[in-house]
Structure formats: structure tokens, C-alpha cells
């Protein structure tokens, strides 16, 4: 009997540490700054365990039944913690950190209750010194086992969500085992067993991802259904699918959702290119997904498209994976398209080619390396590659969420001696998004679109160039290599956007 209970201690301790690690890992994965995330999660978790231990004094009767119920609660809450956090982060604009710390506190309190209760149960059979010695030994052993298994086996093979569910299941199995061991002393064993079995069913269903799970659980699991994941030397590329929605994430930042990417890419390409009936040579910087190229290839007069993307893994993925090829209509395989995997800046420095239309589709300026691609030096270099009447279009982050960042890009383009024409479009998965057309001369929006479009119409086009009061121009410094103000604006502004 006592051996069996000590084994439960081992399992319970493993689960307890696992939830802590999952919360810490998820927080650092989603929010970054792993040192802060891990120390605050571990700190709050240990503190909550202290609360649990203190609360244990108020449980005076039915120790075993309470223990079983606590196990079931830990199993369900802990088991679904990763899934819940992921779900909330990806799908809702809920205050993520509030939920994170509430969950950490709840699980910590419950886990804090476990060991004192087991010690009191065991006290009936063993001397106090043996109870303390053995329970704590197995407690720490369990923690050791998980701390090794977690990074080596569980996360790589099961992922965080399934690891969470797996440990939830273990907690509930401990409860079931306890019911079995103490069946003689439990008046309501059947009722407790029923609770356990229900929890097992939910957890197993969620784990298997089978149709038996509720829609809610299914949604949580599929939110994380990764169809492709790889780490290139430059970035982490993850493609997820939820029902018919394919999404590309680079370093955990959403790049597009197949449900509304046409809005983004039409807005990126057509307002500029539709005004250039003579455009023969087009350059795309970034945009290795081929979606902008797909829009460009709609224009029969375009003779060549040069795509310069840093990461060969991206262009390879988008010219081979069937679902992604379908999405970009095999744009990267077109004979008109020349793909070059190079540093955009270095390539521009070394090339002397000129283009009628240039699409600048870089990631948002979230670090100093990318910030250089939005600098006055970059736009001066870009200008040298524009044909006499050529235009460039620059994706310029959100004028709503990152208003000063957006207008900083506009100001910077102007500082390079180019005429900047800003506009915006609503892309539901991103929100309100901004672009800037740059040219040596003024630019007038097209009166018609010579190619088929799903989003843009001539009638609604003038509205794209109108900026409502909450996105209207604000003062911003010029983003120079030696000040990198854009990265600082961008960091400050996105930090204010609650995720």
C-alpha cells in the first residue's frame, strides 16, 4: 500500500513539474524573453504551491476523497493548460498574461495541496521520519525524471499541447489508482470513479484529436496543427492548417492566412502596377511565398520577375509543397520568374539592374538587422534601381497599431528624395495594414484594374488613400542606420497592443 502511494508521489511530482515547465516554455515561446518568463512563471508557481500547502490544513475530513478530486482537477486544468494558452494566444485578443498567471496560480495551489495530503494519508502507516524522507525522495525523483524527459523526449515528440494532456492523464490515472487502493474506505467510490473516467475520456479524446472531443477542444488542438515546420539558418518556418485556412508563421509572426491573403497581396501589388502599362521588369524583395509574384504574373506585359529572398528554405517550400503551390498558383515555377536567394541589401549594392516596379515585402522592423531594410540608406539604394518612371511599393506595418512606425517609413522614404504615397487596406488576420508607393514623381491611383481582383475595385480604391483621424499622419524621425528609430517606435507600439 505505501509503496503504491509512494509511486503516486513520483507521478504527481512529475506532473507538477511538467505543468510548470509547460507554462514557462509556452510563455517564452509566445512572448519571448525566456529569462523573464521562466523566472516569473516558476516564482508564481512555487508561491502558489505554498498557498496550497497552507490551505491543506483546512482539509480535515475525507482525505482520500479530497485527494482524488484534487488529482482530477489538476489533471484536467493542468492537462488543458497548454492548449488553453495556445488557443487564447492565437485566436482571441484576451489578456494572455492574466490567463497565464491565473492558470499557473490555480495549478500551483492544487499541486501544493497534493504532497501534504499524501503525507497525512501515509502517516497512518509509517513513522513521521519515514514519511518525510520517502515522500520527499520520490517527490524530487519525479521532478528529476520530468526535467530530463521534457526537453529530450516530450516536447520534440509530443509537442507542448499533447505533453500537457499526457500529464493530465497521468494525474487522473493516479486518482483512479487511489480509488482502487482505498476502495474499502471510500463511501462514494463509484461517484469518484465516474468523475475520473469522465476526465480520462475528455483527455484521451483531446489527445487523440478524434471527433469524440468537443468542438471546443478540437478547436484548441487544431489551432496548433502544424503541417510543416523547419528551422532554416535564418528563421523558424511554420505552416499551420485549421480547416481550410493555411497560415505561414516566420519566427512565430503570422505572415499570411490563406483566407484573406489575397486582400494583402492585391493591395500590395495592384495600386502600383496597374498604373504602369509599360512595366516589363519587376523586382520582388522578400516575399519568398510567391504570393506577390502570383499577382504580378497576372499582367501579360511583365516579361520578367526577379525574386530576391534571403532564405532558400522559403522559396524551396513554396515551389514544392502542393498546398502552397496551389496557393501561389505555381508562381515560383513560372519561366518568367528568376529566384535569387541573397541578402536583398547586398544584392542591390552589387546589381546595376533597373526595374519598372519593385515590391518591397520585408518582415516588420522588429529587430536592428531588419530595421536596416527600412533605413534612408536603403531607400536611396532602392531609388538607383528604379527605372525613370518606375514605382516601388513598400509594406509598412500597420498605420493603426503602429501609427508612428508607419509614418516613420513614409518620412524616411521622403528623406531619400522620393515622392511617397501612403495607403492602407483591411486584412482581417492582420488588421488595418499600410503600404507606401514611392517614385521619383507623383503618383495617381489607377482608374481601372486591367487584371481580375477579388478585393480591389476602382470605386473603392480612392478610399485606400484616405487616412481617417486615428491613422492620420504623425511626426516621426527619419529612420537612419545610426539611429534605428523605427525599431524603437515599433517595439514601443506593438508592446502596447495587448495580445
Amino acid at each position: 500500500m505505501s509503496q503504491a502511494l509512494l509511486f503516486s508521489v513520483f507521478v504527481v511530482a512529475s506532473c507538477g513539474l511538467a505543468y510548470e515547465l509547460i507554462a514557462g516554455a509556452l510563455a517564452s515561446y509566445l512572448l519571448g524573453d525566456s529569462v523573464t518568463q521562466f523566472s516569473t512563471v516558476i516564482g508564481s508557481y512555487l508561491f502558489a504551491m505554498g498557498i496550497g500547502s497552507w490551505l491543506s490544513r483546512y482539509i480535515v475530513r475525507d482525505l482520500i476523497a479530497r485527494f482524488v478530486q484534487i488529482e482530477v482537477m489538476v489533471g484536467v486544468i493542468g492537462g488543458f493548460s497548454a492548449a488553453a494558452l495556445f488557443f487564447l494566444f492565437v485566436w482571441l485578443s484576451a489578456p494572455f498574461q492574466l490567463l497565464l498567471y491565473s492558470l499557473v496560480l490555480a495549478i500551483g495551489i492544487l499541486v501544493g495541496l497534493e504532497i501534504p495530503l499524501i503525507m497525512r494519508i501515509l502517516k497512518r502507516q509509517l513513522a513521521f521520519k519515514d514519511v518525510v524522507s520517502q515522500v520527499l525522495t520520490f517527490d524530487y525523483l519525479g521532478a528529476l525524471a520530468v526535467s530530463i524527459l521534457f526537453p529530450v523526449l516530450l516536447v520534440p515528440h509530443l509537442g507542448l499541447i499533447r505533453s500537457g494532456l499526457f500529464f493530465g492523464l497521468l494525474n487522473v490515472l493516479v486518482a483512479l489508482w487511489a480509488i482502487h487502493l482505498f476502495r474499502a474506505q471510500l463511501p462514494s467510490a463509484a461517484w469518484l470513479r465516474g468523475q475520473c473516467l469522465a476526465a480520462v475520456a475528455v483527455l484521451v479524446a483531446a489527445f487523440a484529436g478524434a471527433g469524440a472531443a468537443t468542438d471546443f477542444a478540437e478547436a484548441q488542438l487544431y489551432a496548433d496543427d502544424i503541417v510543416h515546420a523547419e528551422s532554416s539558418p535564418f528563421q523558424r518556418i511554420v505552416v499551420t492548417r485549421w480547416k481550410d485556412d493555411l497560415r505561414l508563421h516566420l519566427n512565430n509572426n503570422l505572415q499570411f492566412s490563406s483566407r484573406d491573403e489575397y486582400r494583402y497581396h492585391e493591395a500590395l501589388v495592384h495600386p502600383g502596377l496597374a498604373t504602369l502599362p509599360g512595366a516589363r521588369r519587376v523586382l520582388v524583395l522578400g516575399g519568398g511565398d510567391g504570393l506577390a509574384v502570383r499577382e504580378i504574373l497576372k499582367y501579360p506585359q511583365v516579361e520578367s520577375v526577379t525574386l530576391v529572398d534571403l532564405d532558400p528554405a522559403m522559396t524551396r517550400l513554396f515551389s514544392t509543397a502542393p498546398a502552397l503551390r496551389a496557393l501561389n498558383a505555381d508562381a515560383l515555377l513560372s519561366p518568367k520568374v528568376r529566384t535569387i536567394n541573397a541578402d536583398a541589401l547586398k544584392w542591390l549594392e552589387e546589381s546595376d539592374e533597373r526595374f519598372d516596379f519593385i515590391v518591397v515585402d520585408f518582415p516588420d522592423p522588429s529587430n536592428f538587422a531588419i530595421g536596416k531594410l527600412y533605413s534612408s540608406a536603403f531607400y536611396r539604394l532602392l531609388e538607383k534601381h528604379l527605372a525613370e518612371t518606375g514605382l516601388a511599393v513598400v509594406q509598412s506595418t500597420s498605420p493603426l497599431y503602429a501609427r508612428q512606425s508607419f509614418w516613420c517609413v513614409v518620412t524616411t522614404i521622403e528623406s531619400a528624395g522620393l515622392v511617397a504615397t501612403p495607403y492602407h487596406a483591411l486584412v482581417p488576420s492582420f488588421g488595418e495594414w499600410g503600404f507606401v508607393i514611392a517614385g521619383r514623381r507623383g503618383y495617381a491611383p489607377p482608374a481601372t484594374y486591367p487584371v481580375p481582383t477579388r478585393f480591389l475595385t476602382p470605386a473603392t480604391t480612392p478610399a485606400l488613400f484616405e487616412f481617417p483621424a486615428d491613422m492620420a499622419r504623425v511626426d516621426a524621425e527619419v529612420n537612419r542606420l545610426n539611429n534605428q528609430v523605427l525599431v524603437r517606435y515599433f517595439e514601443a507600439e506593438w508592446r502596447r497592443v495587448i495580445r
Binding site: L310, A342, K346, A377, Q484
Partner: protein
């Protein structure tokens, strides 16, 4: 594994520091290859010890410049700009450039010594003229806020500090620093800003750069008679972090700690720079992947064909009567290590642009000058170039900057050679690590510096950099070590305004001293000013017309 590497390297370097011959017996990880660079101490000692052969041939030139560092090159640059090309520049090493030379690694160029130029002050007119000539400064070189080529303006982030396991932006410690200390920072910076604007009773800037243009006000010169550290204490500054910062600044610019650097020199560091540029913060510096070598190359561009490298002055004698007709000449014997022969150059005018510590060993007569020259002390420096397969990672805290400083380190940190490149693709880079051996007296420092092998220094530098970057052992593919026994003059207490320096700064009829040593400290602007000033005085003496480059 990484921790074991770190301990291994540290113990190897410790063993090396105490018992150099046994360094190989420890279980250190294999060291990356590399070479030992820097002025050859053997060559210097050969000159010091004398016994060289008699001159085999004699050459006559109107002007001889001895020393091809920034001051010698600047003198030649000014002579050439005035249309006067009858000069010869003798350089002891294989190539000119002095402390501003560059190295070449598989990961591209990197500095071997000096690596930046602050925005030139209003008075640093010669420096501005050079930058305009190189196309880096556009418009009027004497404008208040000229425009500089963006490629040479240090890209952001410019500097960061590693302290208590975390990188922060900027060099003044901020994390966990009490409000009282921060108030002291603000008060200190205010004081320095006031000194920057201050003028002496004679109307000159209190602290100008070139320093020769500074006020001679006795109240200001009195600051030369106490150490920077004592001045801080006297002014009520007791913040340990502020003291670290000021000491760091002194070691960085002068190769000596704030306990020996005079308060005049220490304040000069913070107060002399009033350079501004259009659209740029005032504290931005000019830099390039090869450090300051592009400036040395720019100065040397017009000197080609009139440079004699591998030629060390081993005897300098003024010959009043016998010389070249018009009232005497200077005989300079140049020893060429390549063939062991000595060439005698008889010059009407000599510009001595070599360090002054050489003077007592090679000058004949001139006892007063020799006596004065012996009062200089020179700081020994170590520079290590670590070629890395990739930039080191910064998982948390401020990202990699151009200048990366370690708190409480014997070293001054490192600069990143690829910082100015615009690449996105991760790739190899060179970290140039600097250490002034400032903890001990210069002679002891030189013994340490020259007594240890490349391997011992490389291991010590790797283990120091493994503190913030545990992966450095895996990343490093080469470690080249440069040793400078006499890297720079030290402006110690009483030295700047103590008299000896002024003796060399004064104009003389035949021999002019142009080295930055004459200013008491080694800055690009000082070396250039001394070189140009010596050239202009020489031109005047020779009756050649020129437009001055000086303020």
C-alpha cells in the same frame, strides 16, 4: 561541456600567466590558429642596444619625416597638399599606418588598433579637411554641422554593457542602480557638459581638441595636478558605478586608470568633443570595418613613392657647420633590418613623427630634450582579433552592438568588424578585443605583454569572452594577437602641463616633433594636428606658400 571548456581555458591562461613554459600541460581545448602581430620588440631592442654598422650610402633630401603613423602621414599629406614633394618618409615597419593599421582575416578586414573617430570638433579643421577630401564629409568642412556619409556613421546600436550576466544598452550601468547613483550620473554629465561649453580667462575653450588650442587658464591647468579619481571624490562623486565608468573611459582612451590619469586629461575626454553633424546625434562616431585604417590610407594616398619602409632611425645628429650648405643639416641614419645596412639621410629639415621614448637612444647630444623625453610613460596594449564562424548570440538583453563592453573586466570589450555591413544573412565576423595593461606599472605591463605567447593570450581572451558568450570556443576559427609595448603616451598626474611636453611642442629651426606624444595622449586628431603643424612650420621655414589647414 561548455563550462568545462571555460574552466580549462581559464586554468590554462592562469597557468600561462604564472608559469608560461608549462601552459601546454593543462587540459585546455585546442586553441584556434593565429599569428602574433605588432611592432617587433626585437627590432626596437636592436636599436636601443646600438652597435650597428657604419652608413653604407648617403642620400640628401630637403625634408625627412621619421615615422609613418598618423602624425608622419599627416605631415607628408600636408606637404603634398602644399605642392611640396621633396620629402622622404621613413617607416620602421613594413607598412605605414602606425596604430591605425588593419588586419585581414578570412572574415574580412578588421582593425589592428585604433578603430573610430568621433565627429570632429569645430577646431579639428585638418581632420575635417581630410574627411572632405575622402568624400566622407560633404559641403563646407568648417560648417557647424556638416553632413557625413552614412556608411561611416556608426550604425545603431552603438554600444552595450555586460554586467551581472545581462547586456544593457549604453555604457553607464543602469539595471539595479539606485536612484542616488543615477542622480550622480546626471550631475556628472551636467558638469562635463558645462566644461564642454566653458572658456578660460584667455577666451579659449577650456578643453579643446586639438588640446594645444585649449585655454592656458591657471585654474584649469590646476586640474592636471590631481588624479581623475581624486577629482571625482573631491566633487562628491562616490557612486561605484560612476567611478567604474570614468575609469573605463580613462583606460579606453589613455591606457591608464583614473587613479593615475590627471583630472585635466580625464575631463578633456568628456569635455573636448563638440563635433556635430547634420541629422545625427552628437555622440555618434565614424567607423569602418577596418577601424581607422581607411583614414591612414587616405593620408598615405599622396605619399606613395616617397616612403621608405623597413627603415628605422638609429642615429640623429644635427650638423651645424659641415652640412648641406645653407646653415647646417640633420643627419639621420636609417637601419634597414632587411639587409642590415645603414643609409645616411642628410636633411635640411627633420620632422620627428616617431614616439618620443626612442629619442634618448638615437639622438646625439640634445641632453635637455633627452632628459625631458625620459619623463614620458607609455601604456602597453593588447589587441586580439577573433575570427568567428558567426556572430555570438544574445538570447536576452540588448542585442549585439558595435562596441561591446564587459563590466569589471581587465579588458575594454570588443568591437564587431561587420557591424557596418548591411547584410541580413548571418555570417563570419571578427571581434576585436582590446586590453590596456593598466593594472600594473607600464614596465611590468610590458614584461607581461611580451613575456606571454600568442597561445597564452589567446586562451586568456577566449576565457574572458566566454563569460558573456559561452559558445565562443566553438565559434572562433582564428585568434590573432597584436602586442603594442608602447601603444600610447599616458597623461598621468602633472604630465600634461608639467613642462616637458611644452618643450617638444615649441617650434625649432630644424627638427620639429610631430608625434601625438607631444600632446600627451594618443588621439587621431592630436596626431594629425601635430603632423600638419610640423609640416606647416617646415613649409614656412622653407619659404613655401600654403593655405593653412589649422584653426
Amino acid at each position: 561541456m561548455k563550462r568545462r571548456d571555460f574552466l580549462g581555458a581559464a586554468s590554462a591562461s592562469l597557468a600561462a600567466a604564472t608559469l608560461p613554459p608549462l601552459a601546454g600541460c593543462t587540459t585546455a581545448p585546442p586553441l584556434p590558429p593565429g599569428s602574433l602581430l605588432g611592432p617587433s620588440p626585437a627590432l626596437g631592442h636592436r636599436l636601443r642596444d646600438g652597435g650597428l654598422p657604419a652608413p653604407a650610402e648617403t642620400l640628401r633630401v630637403p625634408v625627412l619625416i621619421v615615422g609613418g603613423g598618423i602624425s608622419g602621414l599627416s605631415a607628408a599629406w600636408k606637404l603634398s597638399r602644399a605642392g611640396f614633394d621633396d620629402y622622404l618618409l621613413a617607416e620602421m615597419d613594413g607598412e605605414p599606418g602606425g596604430n591605425s593599421r588593419a588586419g585581414n582575416t578570412p572574415a574580412g578586414p578588421c582593425p589592428l588598433g585604433a578603430h573610430y573617430l568621433p565627429l570632429p570638433t569645430r577646431e579639428a579643421t585638418a581632420t575635417r579637411e581630410l574627411l572632405a577630401e575622402l568624400g566622407v564629409l560633404s559641403g563646407d568642412p568648417r560648417a557647424a554641422k556638416p553632413a557625413y556619409d552614412e556608411r561611416y556613421l556608426c550604425a545603431a546600436p552603438q554600444e552595450r554593457l555586460y554586467r551581472h550576466g545581462l547586456w544593457q544598452e549604453g555604457l553607464l550601468p543602469v539595471h539595479g542602480v539606485a536612484a542616488g547613483e543615477r542622480d550622480q550620473y546626471a550631475r556628472f554629465l551636467d558638469r562635463m557638459a558645462a566644461f564642454r561649453r566653458a572658456r578660460g580667462g584667455d577666451g579659449r575653450r577650456a578643453f579643446a581638441l586639438p588640446m594645444a588650442l585649449s585655454s592656458r587658464d591657471a585654474a584649469l591647468r590646476a586640474l592636471d595636478r590631481l588624479s581623475m579619481r581624486d577629482w571625482l571624490r573631491q566633487q562628491g562623486f562616490d557612486s561605484a558605478n560612476l567611478h567604474w565608468y570614468v575609469d573605463y573611459a580613462c583606460r579606453d582612451d589613455y591606457g591608464a586608470g583614473s587613479d593615475v590619469v590627471s583630472a585635466w586629461a580625464g575631463i578633456h575626454y568628456f569635455a573636448c568633443r563638440n563635433g556635430e553633424a547634420r541629422d545625427v546625434a552628437d555622440d555618434i562616431v565614424l567607423t569602418a570595418p577596418d577601424g581607422n585604417a581607411w583614414l591612414a590610407r587616405g593620408l598615405a594616398a599622396g605619399v606613395r613613392g616617397r616612403t621608405l619602409t623597413g627603415a628605422a632611425a638609429c642615429r640623429v645628429a644635427e650638423s651645424g657647420e659641415r652640412g648641406a650648405g645653407r646653415g647646417g643639416a640633420v643627419e639621420v641614419d636609417l637601419w634597414r633590418a632587411a639587409d642590415g645596412r645603414v643609409l645616411r639621410v642628410v636633411a635640411e629639415q627633420l620632422i620627428w613623427a616617431a614616439p618620443l621614448y626612442l629619442l634618448p637612444h638615437v639622438f646625439v647630444g640634445n641632453d635637455a630634450l633627452k632628459q625631458a623625453a625620459r619623463t614620458w610613460t607609455h601604456a602597453p596594449w593588447l589587441v586580439a582579433n577573433l575570427t568567428l564562424a558567426a556572430e555570438p548570440e544574445t538570447p536576452a538583453g540588448a542585442p549585439l552592438a558595435w562596441d561591446n563592453v564587459l563590466f569589471d573586466s581587465p579588458g575594454l570589450g570588443y568591437v564587431v568588424s561587420t557591424h557596418q555591413t548591411l547584410r541580413q544573412r548571418p555570417g563570419p565576423t571578427v571581434l576585436t578585443y582590446y586590453q590596456a595593461l593598466a593594472d600594473v606599472a607600464p614596465t611590468r605591463g610590458r614584461e607581461l605583454l611580451l613575456g606571454l605567447s600568442r597561445e597564452a593570450w589567446a586562451a586568456a581572451v577566449l576565457s574572458e569572452l566566454a563569460r558573456p558568450h559561452p559558445e565562443i570556443h566553438e565559434l572562433a576559427t582564428r585568434v590573432d594577437v597584436v602586442r603594442y609595448g608602447h601603444a600610447m603616451a599616458r597623461p598621468t598626474v602633472g604630465f600634461v602641463w608639467g613642462g616637458a611636453r611644452e618643450l617638444f611642442a615649441a617650434d625649432r629651426p630644424r627638427i620639429r616633433f610631430a608625434h601625438a606624444d607631444v600632446s600627451g595622449f594618443s588621439l587621431f586628431e592630436e596626431a594629425q594636428y601635430r603632423g600638419v603643424l610640423a609640416a606647416e612650420r617646415t613649409l614656412q621655414q622653407l619659404g613655401v606658400r600654403f593655405t593653412t589647414s589649422l584653426a
